[in-house]
């Protein structure tokens, strides 16, 4: 089909508009984070300050609790991603490869957990974790986040397993492997892209979680980035440069993971269930 030049130009312009809208807020964050305090108000709507500085970053890194928040978030999101991926690989493999009686109920249970409001669980989970000493603790957060993310990750992993021919593990089993050895040595290595995607999805989700972190964590010591940033905002709500520098720092790991997984995004979201 021949394309008309006018339509082509309109198409590219529309794409460009989307890109501008998508990036502008992030650009603004970056812009304010490098604007020196004395220029902040005088050059309010300028696209780039006449003088840029990294002083907000150095302050945030050297004189605030953000390195702790960052470390906590890294620990929580990293552990959650690894734990979820292990559990979801096992469960996804069971759903993909076995016919068994409870399969229907397991799928139903996992779908239901995707439907009901998680905010319902805030109070009971707090009540359950507090006698176990798991409030105000990173371990508690990891457990909660792992449970929340396992259902979606299971569907995601299942779809990746479904894409690998059954012949392969049958061949391995005839070659002398048990089902579990075939799973570990043949199927898992072939699912590496799926594992990477799952790690990325879960890491991003755990990195971003706010409500349960707010509820379960009170002190600064165990605060994750969202909690720390919000506390910082409500306490020092005038120091915009520092807040935005911290915001940019919080963005980095999420964006890194996004770049890693965005290749699988379309595949992953169609294949798995549908979740934000």
């Amino acid at each position: 089909m021949r394309s008309k030049p006018f339509l082509t130009v309109a198409h590219r312009l529309a794409i460009l508009a989307y890109i501008v809208v998508a990036l502008f807020p992030l650009f603004w964050l970056l812009k304010v984070s490098v604007t020196p305090n004395d220029l902040l108000y005088s050059e309010g709507v300028r696209m780039w300050p006449s003088r840029a500085t990294f002083e907000h970053y150095t302050f945030v890194i050297a004189h605030s609790a953000f390195p702790t928040f960052f470390k906590n978030s890294l620990i929580v999101a990293g552990s959650t991603a690894v734990a979820v991926t292990i559990l979801a690989s096992l469960a996804g493999y069971a759903l993909s490869r076995f016919r068994f009686r409870a399969k229907y109920w397991i799928v139903a249970l996992m779908l239901v957990t995707q439907m009901f409001p998680l905010v319902m669980l805030v109070a009971p989970i707090f009540k359950m974790l507090s006698p176990l000493g798991l409030t105000n603790s990173l371990t508690g957060l990891v457990i909660v986040y792992t449970a929340f993310n396992v259902p979606f990750a299971t569907f995601l992993m299942q779809s990746f397993f479904d894409g690998i021919p059954r012949d392969l593990e049958e061949a391995a089993m005839i070659d002398g492997a048990t089902q579990f050895v075939a799973f570990r040595q043949i199927i898992l290595p072939l699912t590496l892209p799926g594992i990477a995607a799952t790690l990325g999805f879960v890491f991003t989700a755990a990195w971003s979680e706010l409500l349960f972190a707010l509820m379960l964590i009170s002190g600064n010591d165990a605060a994750t980035f969202p909690v720390g940033l919000l506390t910082f905002v409500s306490k020092f709500s005038v120091d915009f440069g520092q807040m935005m520098a911290a915001g940019i720092l919080a963005l980095i790991p999420a964006c890194l993971f996004f770049l890693l997984i965005q290749r699988y995004l379309v595949q992953g979201l169609t294949a798995g269930a549908v979740k934000g």
Binding site: A123, K127, P226, L251
Partner: protein
């Protein structure tokens, strides 16, 4: 003979148990965790709705029947939150869907640099929700953000004020942030569905003389319809529960004008530590969402039967 018969008699049973238990061994860790951390609290939460549970009151904990629900029936803030939820969810889903569909259609055409463009327009999806909220709150702040000034220049605002503190307009703030944040999700889902449409259908249609509009209406839309339906259903439920942006941007204010049910539950639990009342609201929300989902499914069924 007994020696030979022995393993035959034992093995099948042991093998049968081993075979039957294998899928359960694989799925057990995930299941146990889901049950312990999601299902049990869900049941507990439902029971809280009928009990007096206040974290700071050591004498609370008793069974109080339907008292919470009676209080809820007279709670004007709750009904306002309910109306706000409808408004918040409806506007967010509608705008996300429209802009997401357009984006998906734009990205479905091959062009040079499509991979890069796709990565850039999907980037907001990776931004943590709390940060998206803060980011937009700052953009709406006339001190450091450009939006009030631009909207004033365009004549939308009388003065470059923060719309987040204007009771009439405040809800548009979180909605704008939500639309920005959620477009990629719709676009990704719809793009995947678009790419699953066999290309030769379009070729056959254009050979048959169908123009671009007819092709869209007779091929694209019918193929996308199931994806659109399920995505909108799931997104509606999800967004009506999505309190992060509101908690971060307005905390329900000004004057409860942006309080939705989900953020109201969180406020009751988090600020007032009244777990019982929070659970009662949550239960009502759950029932409403279930009713909504059932309604949609039934509607779809009747439509399918007619077709």
């Amino acid at each position: 003979m007994t020696l030979a018969a022995h393993p035959h008699a034992v093995r099948p049973l042991r093998k049968r148990i081993a075979d039957a238990s294998e899928p359960y061994l694989y799925s057990a860790p995930a299941l146990i965790l889901i049950i312990a951390v999601m299902l049990v609290p869900l049941v507990l939460g439902i029971s809280y709705a009928f009990r007096d549970i206040q974290l700071l009151n050591p004498f609370s904990g008793g069974f109080i029947g339907l008292d919470h629900f009676r209080a809820l029936g007279e709670d004007q803030a709750f009904f306002r939150a309910l109306r706000n939820t409808l408004w918040w969810t409806g506007a967010s889903v509608f705008l996300q869907f429209i802009f997401g569909l357009i984006l998906a259609l734009l990205l479905d055409k091959p062009f040079a640099g499509r991979g890069l463009a796709q990565a850039l327009v999907f980037l907001p999806w990776a931004v943590p929700s709390f940060l998206a909220g803060l980011n937009w709150a700052w953009l709406f702040n006339p001190v450091i953000g450009p939006l009030p000034h631009w909207m004033h220049a365009l004549g939308i605002l009388d003065a470059p004020n923060n719309i987040l503190s204007d009771p009439q307009l405040a809800m548009w703030g979180p909605i704008a942030a939500n639309v920005w944040w959620g477009i990629p999700f719709f676009a990704i889902t719809l793009l995947a569905a678009l790419q699953a449409i066999p290309r030769d259908l379009y070729e056959a249609a254009s050979i048959d003389g169908a123009g671009p509009v007819q092709r869209f209406l007779s091929i694209t839309l019918p193929f996308l319809a199931p994806t659109i339906a399920i995505t909108i259903l799931l997104r509606t439920v999800w967004i009506s529960n999505f309190a992060d942006l509101i908690v971060v941007m307005t905390n329900g204010g000004p004057a409860d004008r942006t309080q939705i049910v989900a953020s109201y539950i969180f406020t009751q639990a988090f600020k007032r530590l009244d777990f019982g009342y929070a659970s009662a609201i949550a239960l009502v929300l759950l029932v409403l969402l279930l009713a909504y989902s059932m309604l949609i499914v039934l509607l779809r069924q009747t439509l399918l039967n007619k077709g």
